[in-house]
């Protein structure tokens, strides 16, 4: 590694990315793959809105419409929002805590490839006999009756992608617990690190129920099981419980990192310390706990009985308290600050009213009697798009602008960024605000069309026009990215000029070993403290310069994942094709074989020597 750096060819670069265990490169891959799925999910959303733009439309058939809504929801949650957030966690969190990488770089790579192959597997359903069509919740009474292989693709694809997420979550937990730089106590961790920590803990506890549920579904559909079949003594409600025990924490897995991103943005661009830091931490942990105690509010109309409904209604309303604390803390962070309205700050300012609106409709639905009216109507669609688009997607777009210079050493155009924001923001409210009223007027969700005499024409048309605005916003963002990448102007260190946390203190482009010497953290917003005290370097060091131990790259993660990918095809055609069982065996043999290779082969990594670090090239 200490040889002279030279420009790599395309093949070498590709090989580098396929085998990399560097958290920064894995972050780029998460961002790219998640971005691709975001566009695919967005196209599906556009198809939905074109179909619903006018009454009695036959742009897509009813069956295809069901496939599109299912894949839109599944893609956006599992393959777009979560991986993109994982990308930012990977890129930023180790730098924020002063670590040289995550705790298990090999597992980090494995997690990414599992997500990608799971996502590809799920989307292959479009070309192999039809996509899943039972909604993203895939309730067992629907999904067991679904003909074709759509649901099988859903169950197997999510099982693979879910394993990747689980591995990623554990990795982040161990990293944050064990690899903080000296002086970085828990109560000095930046909020994005804190929310990553709590979201990872939620992944740790929430994904096992999903895994169990999906295994039951796989067994029921492909291997003759009867877990959800009431005629054979099973119970279809069990799927709903297992799904929502996972599904509710899942939305907090998405929104907590979004809260973290906005907390960073508010402090950075108000040029003030985050107001009420310790209450923010407390609120984050509390939301994490309460997130597990409320899942049955998705099932009020199932018939759980008034006692259960009342308990879950009260628990749900309790979540408004810590969330409200956060909103007030953000407002008080801006209050009296020296505000700079950059693109990320614009997103953050737009986020507060949007998310509060989504939260308020959430409290409305938490009242079980009212939920009987709202259930399965467009009011619900409006609510969860307000929290997920108004919270998570705005955070993702803000973070793309905020962290682009950190990840790629280039600044995205502020001008185009603001155009993206306004198109997206106006489009978002145009699309979803009116859907509240469509719901109150009685329009059920997941219908492929409606009649001209039902009085929903105009509002649906307005909603579709809003969706077009959002699409324009995203297209401007893509253009912005292309222009920035082609121009390739180095942004340099601390590009926003007011960076507060460690990640902005690192020289650009970030060396592959991150920190030449591990920094000493002297307080919350440690980089800000150093700058205030006139430290030109921006860091105080906790150790003398010495050799750095680094892990070796490895192709094994991708091979291991590919085995599971093959085995999934075998499971899919089990009982239908003769080659199904041999293919399962072959796939699992590849996976287990690569695990064996990984276990038996000693891989101690390598050292970057002190002498190489001291010369100009900094060990490259």
């Amino acid at each position: 590694m200490s040889s002279i750096a030279k420009k790599k060819g395309f093949g070498a670069t590709l090989w580098d990315y396929l085998t990399t265990v560097d958290h920064k490169k894995i972050a780029v891959m998460y961002l790219a793959a998640g971005g691709l799925f975001f566009v695919i999910g967005g196209i599906e959303a556009m198809l939905i809105r074109i179909q619903l733009a006018q009454p009695d439309n036959d742009f897509v058939s009813a069956g295809l419409f069901n496939e599109i809504i299912t894949m839109h929801g599944t893609t956006m949650i599992f393959l777009a929002a979560m991986p993109i957030l994982f990308g930012f966690m990977n890129a930023v969190m180790p730098l924020q805590i002063g670590a040289r990488d995550v705790a298990f770089p090999f597992l980090n790579s494995l997690g990414f490839w599992l997500f990608l192959f799971g996502g590809i597997f799920l989307n292959l359903s479009w070309f192999m006999g039809g996509a899943p069509d039972a909604g993203w919740t895939s309730y067992a009474s629907l999904s067991l009756a679904s003909p074709g292989h759509g649901i099988d693709f859903y169950a197997l694809g999510l099982q693979i992608a879910g394993a990747g997420t689980y591995i990623g979550g554990i990795n982040f937990l161990v990293t944050i617990i064990n690899m903080r730089a000296p002086g970085m106590t828990y109560m000095r961790m930046p909020l994005f690190t804190w929310t990553t920590f709590v979201a990872s803990a939620l992944i740790l506890f929430a994904f096992p129920p999903l895994t169990i549920g999906l295994f039951f579904l796989i067994l029921d559909r492909m291997f003759g099981g009867n877990f959800f079949d009431h005629t054979m003594g099973g119970n279809t409600i069990i799927w709903e419980h297992l799904f929502w025990i996972f599904g509710h924490p899942e939305v907090y897995i998405l929104i907590l990192p979004a809260f973290g991103i906005f907390s960073e943005i508010f402090a950075l661009f108000s040029r003030k310390r985050l107001f009420g830091y310790s209450s923010m931490v407390f609120a984050t942990v509390l939301i994490g706990f309460l997130g597990f105690m409320v899942w049955a509010h998705h099932m009020f109309t199932v018939g759980l009985g008034p006692t259960a409904n009342a308990i879950f209604a009260v628990a749900t309303m309790a979540i408004a308290v810590p969330t409200g604390m956060k909103i007030f803390n953000w407002l008080l962070t801006i209050w009296g600050g020296s505000i700079k309205v950059t693109t990320p700050m614009l997103y953050a300012l737009g986020f507060i009213p949007s998310f509060v609106a989504g939260g308020v409709t959430g409290i409305m639905q938490a009242a079980a009697p009212l939920d009987y009216q709202l259930h399965d109507s467009y009011f619900i669609v409006a609510h969860f798009h307000y929290v997920i688009v108004g919270g998570v997607v705005l955070a993702i777009l803000a973070a793309v602008h905020l962290y682009w210079p950190l990840m790629f050493n280039q600044m995205l155009s502020e001008k185009l960024g603001k155009w993206t924001f306004w198109f997206f923001f106006i489009g978002f409210h145009l699309t979803f605000f009116i859907q509240h009223f469509l719901g109150l007027m009685g329009m059920p969700r997941r219908v492929f069309t409606f009649g001209a005499d039902q009085g929903w024409d105009l509002f649906n048309l307005i909603s579709s026009i809003g969706a077009a605005f959002m699409a324009v916003g995203v297209i401007i963002l893509v253009v912005n990215i292309i222009i920035t990448v082609v121009k390739n102007v180095p942004a340099g260190n601390d590009p926003w000029e007011d960076g507060r946390t460690l990640e902005w203190a690192i020289p650009q482009p970030v060396p592959f070993y991150n920190f030449k010497q591990t920094p000493l953290v002297r307080g919350l917003d440690t980089f800000w403290i150093e700058k205030q005290e006139g430290n030109k370097e921006g860091m105080t060091y906790a150790e003398p310069l010495s050799d750095i131990h680094m892990p070796n790259n490895s192709i094994i993660p991708i091979v291991m994942t590919f085995g599971l990918f093959i085995a999934a095809f075998g499971a899919l055609y089990n009982g239908e094709k003769d080659w199904a069982i041999p293919v399962i065996v072959l796939g699992l043999a590849i996976t287990l074989g690569s695990m064996a290779v990984r276990s038996i082969k000693d891989d101690h990594g390598f050292h970057i020597h002190k002498e190489d670090l001291m010369n100009d090239k900094g060990g490259k």
Binding site: I177, A201, L204, F205, P209, N235, I237, I238, H241, I245, F289, F292, M293, A296, L304, G305, A308, S546, D547, I548, H549, H607
Partner: protein, 111 residues
Amino acid sequence: MSHDAQVYVRSQTEFDYIKQKRKKDMRNQVTTFGIMIFLTLISFTAVAAGFSVYLIVPVILLLAAIQVVLQLYYFMHMSEKNHQVVAFFLYSAVLLAFTFILTFLTIIWWG
């Protein structure tokens, strides 16, 4: 891990201290082991003696819970220092699992 790491040699006092501590740990583990065997014997006896099911089931569950705690604290070292994070996650998981089981029992199977 850098190459110039120093090798550390224990002093006599530290050596004595660690020896004493290990002796104490060993005694604790043997005692715990004894208690656990005793608890298991109670469970088996309760079943063999043919008491009412409504007595046996809660008693066995209670003894099982005690055994889990002893196992975690004395054999898996949770009683030692710097295990707060582990303990926190473990108790969180116990709390969540308890909620799920309680809910499944009350609103799926009994209700």
